[in-house]
Symmetry: C2
Subunit: 356 residues, 2 copies
């Protein structure tokens, strides 16, 4: 690998293994896998799902939906509140593919009914405790209003929930609890209104043994995983399929620090708190065809293009000016988003959506 600048490496084998494992778990649960593609933004990587028979996907923007529709995906859920300002684009897309949108207020239903001519499917988004978007599950009147107002205009798919609060710290123990609570909220809604239950998030889909309550699963991050998922307990360090390769541009042995070309514009500023400060990524050694998963340090500080790495006592004398080393990202979705492309560990350049 001829790396000169910060480059996001992908281990294709690990990705395919992660997909296989989740596909098997979904199959065992008699559910459908509708993976979230906001993690990778790449038609090539989406193809790895397709090879395993996955034909439905989730995205989080209309532009992402358009990109994947242009690459042959015919059944797409936009898991983001209906944006009335993009109704023309949503309508056009609903004329081309099986498109599902999220409705979660009377205003959104009124606007969608007036502005979408092509028949779309819709999910009612339920707030299961994250308090980001969705209808309060106790507000059954509003749920009824939305479903009744849609009538035959749109195809009712069911209820969609995202359990964002499993991403919080210390959730290893809580994951099953949150999962159980969420079941208690959603099952009665399916019973009363019909439709399917669509459930997402990598931590619970990875950690909860039996997912058979749900009809559809929408995890996204699990294809790459990252340091945060490892800390939560959602994956082993060997399952993390993504690593930033970065040149070492300065060595400060007295401070036990090295400086890499690789900063906030390459990794994102997402961090996990540590006893003594912040961790913006874990440091590993690169190998000829990937990286060794033994940790040799942490990215303790970041500026726009610089990463400041504290190395372990054992490693400080091994890392030299001009080496390249690896950084396991804290949150792979954000790190992947700010890259222009990926490099697979078998040397292939992998394209993704361009920011225009």
């Amino acid at each position: 690998m001829n790396i000169k600048v910060p480059t996001l490496l992908i281990d294709e084998e690990k990705c395919r293994k992660n997909i296989r494992k989740m596909a098997e778990k979904t199959f065992k649960a008699k559910a459908t896998l509708r993976p979230h593609f906001k993690t990778h933004h790449s038609a090539t990587i989406a193809g790895w799902y397709r090879e395993l028979g996955v034909s439905q996907c989730t995205v989080s923007s209309v532009s992402m939906a358009n990109y994947f529709a242009g690459h042959g995906w015919k059944d797409i859920t936009i898991a983001f509140p209906y944006n009335p300002l993009e109704s023309a684009e949503i309508n056009a897309l609903a004329g081309k593919v099986n498109l599902n949108i999220l409705l979660e207020s009377n205003e959104s239903v009124i606007h969608a009914k007036e502005n979408l001519e092509n028949k779309a499917g819709y999910f009612v988004k339920i707030d299961v405790g994250t308090h980001r978007t969705g209808i309060d599950p106790e507000d059954e009147d509003l749920i009824s209003d939305v479903v009744n107002a849609c009538g035959e205009k749109f195809a009712f798919r069911g209820f969609l929930a995202h359990v964002g609060h499993t991403y919080g710290p210390g959730t290893t123990e809580n994951s099953q609890d949150i999962f159980d609570q969420t079941e208690k909220i959603l099952i009665p809604l399916r019973k009363k209104f019909g439709g399917i239950l669509s459930y997402g998030d990598t931590p619970s889909c990875s950690m909860v043994e039996n997912l058979s309550t749900y009809d559809e699963l929408r995890p996204g991050n699990f294809i790459f995983y990252d340091w945060m998922q490892h800390k939560i307990g959602a994956c082993t360090i060997d399952e993390v399929a993504i690593c930033m390769a970065a040149p070492v541009v300065a060595v400060h042995p007295k401070r036990k620090e090295v400086i890499i070309y690789g900063g906030a514009v390459h990794l994102s500023t997402d961090f996990l708190p540590t006893k003594s400060g912040k961790c913006f990524g874990k440091v590993v050694r690169l190998t000829t065809n990937g990286w060794d998963t033994a940790l040799i340090g942490s990215v303790n500080r970041l500026s726009q293009e610089h990463g400041i790495i504290r190395l372990s006592e054992k490693s400080i004398n091994d890392v030299k000016f001009g080496d390249t080393i690896g950084v396991i990202p804290i949150h792979s979705c954000l790190t992947a988003d700010i890259q222009g492309h990926y490099l697979s560990t078998n040397g292939k350049r992998i394209e993704k959506i361009a920011k225009v």
Copy 2:
């Protein structure tokens, strides 16, 4: 302004005013302005500097140097440690423009001497307290070694310092102190070794009255400013020249919250701590040709595409589903970096470097 998706607005008039003010201050100090272009990454915006007679610039990567060289900039400092893995690209660039690199170790000098054929200029980077990169100013032996080893191979420009620690919280009072301490470190070096003193950072260049110690100033952020700079005391809220326009996709009056299409992939995850949590941006109303600077709320939470905004009591009933509202970014450099383009408040699309 026909805005449908998160869009980064630029007020060109405010930018030009910010440039003019800094250019006048630099002129008064009898120094040269070599602005840092990592803030905007745009040849169009760089042109606004050129119209005021600025002909030198600072960048933080070789690719950025290549981009601006391709747009007519002939005198460029790469204010980032010499990356040995890019020596071929650096050498090619040094054959086309007046290029300055940073050297700060014996290893970097040895590598640069062996690998650069074209004559470059160089600065010795001094660590004035940020402890990111640079030579400890007390290590005059190493400084001598670097300067002597370079000999006539490269043109010695002088000493370069970045006072990153003025970005910390509560620095309004400390800015002059840090500035004074830095002078005490750098002036003796110029006396002993010759060359110029190149000094950067927006907080001190904005807040310190008399900058005449320095021969060259390299602030970057001041063209846009942002909420962090305003909190530090570096600018008024009216001087902030950048604002994210974002569609309102859900309204939760009981929680006094609205949800915008505008998340971590649009704003970056940079935040300032608040009494009750985090602030990822300050919320304002958009007007027909820009934004009103009266604050109406804060972005309290962010996920990949969602921003969760807490609005003031007065504003919660005014903001409706389908409106667009404005978010003043915490750190404009990072917000600008993740955008594909800008929209000026007079309706022009402004291009910037594409991520490839």
